[in-house]
Symmetry: C2
């Protein structure tokens, strides 16, 4: 890659107000911020493709729901929209000034409980390029290892404060699982619960067979996937039969193709599970196109999310 | 409180090298640091009492073990010791310059996986005053609500990367439980598993009856408490019978006194459980003294941890 744009950071006032351009070469977060001391915050990562912010509404919906679950100040849509649009604009200008065609970027929102000393929440967004690994996995797929999560959420416990469904900053266990997988020659982790398959480490699982697209139900333990939601809406409108349904490893081996989908990597086909190869499906590029198209359709359908 | 010293921050080179005084009024952490993006790091909090760092060796042992579990660079004891001693020195000077008697402080070590863009781990320590709430709870005890954790670690799952036992930055669920407790008129949470009691939200449970001191076994799900370790060593040497043993709520109601112990708050007596008052024991001050003394003894026994 010849040109790498500088990362962009905008600090956002959490209760509404100014948006401040922050030099990415300077520290942003105070040592007593709850994000640093307790992982006490939420985030969303959006795909920036050309001038478009992909799937804005669904990401904002989940961001808002995460804030509610964690009792953080509710994000103001107009502010995050405005800051995101400005950042994408600057992003595009960097590419234009370099005379280069923009590759995909990732735009990340973060909202934390803020500094202990001020009790004011911290909020910012950042834009940076997608990693070469992610680009490679889009094209060549991923070899996954299966693993139980190693813990169970108790469905019937009286713990109303548990933040299942919130996209929090607590990813240390996930990162540890991914490091372990990479050390052992795998690209990603596919979480299982007994015979049932659940999700990727940072992605949603889907399987395709004929005109059926399936994603695990997950018994309330899974984070709702914004990409999966967009795909199901788009694919259904084209006649695909989309359904949430418990899936087993056997189901995956019998499918035409199996994918890990997420906002930025978009779609990585699973090429092997625990060392057993999955055949290359005939319709690989059709499925990939379907998934990519679903993100685009969502953006185009939503005027507010478009770069003005 | 008439005088509040300024917080102290020292940035520490994770692979050895310089220690840098950092202005606490400036941000320290970059937006792409793994502590901020994933809660991917570890910490320890030590009590600073007068010129003493309490229980240094046990904290460093756990810090080192946490780093091993998370595959972070192993902290260099001499560096953390030197930085900690320097910070305590500056802390004491602030009090001396103000002509005030120093109240207890908290010294916190943090080690993170570092910035995505540089892949260099981040490390620092900070010193600040203890919160008025912590001081109040030391004196007046805590009213606790019991609750299941809401999740179970699977003991037999093949997940060697799970960081049970590491003191990571992933405390969002704990913080949510504490917020919920406070909204409902409680001071703290006592985690239970069925009939068995486990630990406080950020502390170790002990019960005292006659000359017996008990702390839950916890079936490998609990973080080892540095204060509990120090207490057991010290109390045993004085003839108390100390033991890790499964405890029920009934056991707690039958005890002479029940305590949540931790590094900085030290010992908060549980005054009620789910609204049921526990009687004030006759030996409350004796037990408190025993716990405080165990921290002091440990410091005095360990020359290296003393401020030189």
């Amino acid at each position: 890659m010849a040109f790498t744009p500088a990362p962009i950071i905008y600090a956002i006032e959490p209760f509404g107000g100014s948006i401040r351009d922050h030099n990415p070469n300077l520290p942003l977060v105070y040592a007593d911020d709850a994000a640093v001391t307790r992982g006490d915050g939420i985030f969303e990562t959006l795909l920036v493709r050309g001038g478009e912010l992909s799937n804005f509404d669904r990401h904002f919906e989940r961001f808002y729901a995460s804030a509610q679950l964690l009792d953080l100040p509710l994000p103001i849509k107009a502010d995050w929209q405005r800051a995101s649009n400005q950042a994408v604009q600057v992003w595009l200008e960097q590419w234009a000034n370099a005379g280069a065609e923009p590759i995909d970027g990732a735009l990340k929102w973060t909202l934390t409980r803020g500094r202990e000393s001020t009790q004011i929440p911290s909020a910012w967004l950042s834009v940076h390029t997608i990693s070469p690994t992610q680009l490679h996995q889009r094209e060549h797929g991923v070899a996954v290892m299966t693993s139980p999560k190693g813990y169970h959420i108790d469905q019937h416990a009286q713990t109303p404060w548990l933040t299942v469904g919130a996209k929090t900053l607590n990813y240390a266990a996930t990162m540890a699982a991914l490091r372990w997988a990479k050390t052992h020659g795998f690209d990603d982790v596919l979480y299982t619960d007994g015979d049932t398959v659940l999700e990727g480490a940072t992605s949603t699982l889907i399987s395709v067979k004929g005109t059926k697209i399936r994603t695990p139900l997950g018994n309330g333990q899974l984070l709702t996937g914004t990409t999966q939601q967009a795909l199901f809406e788009h694919a259904s409108s084209l006649g695909w039969r989309c359904k949430q349904k418990d899936l087993t490893l056997e189901d995956l081996f019998r499918a035409d193709s199996v994918w890990l989908i997420s906002s930025v990597r978009i779609a990585a086909r699973i090429t092997s599970i625990d060392g057993t190869k999955l055949p290359t499906p005939e319709n690989e590029s059709e499925i990939r196109e379907l998934i990519e198209q679903s993100l685009k359709v969502k953006s185009l359908a939503n005027d507010a999310a478009k770069l003005s």
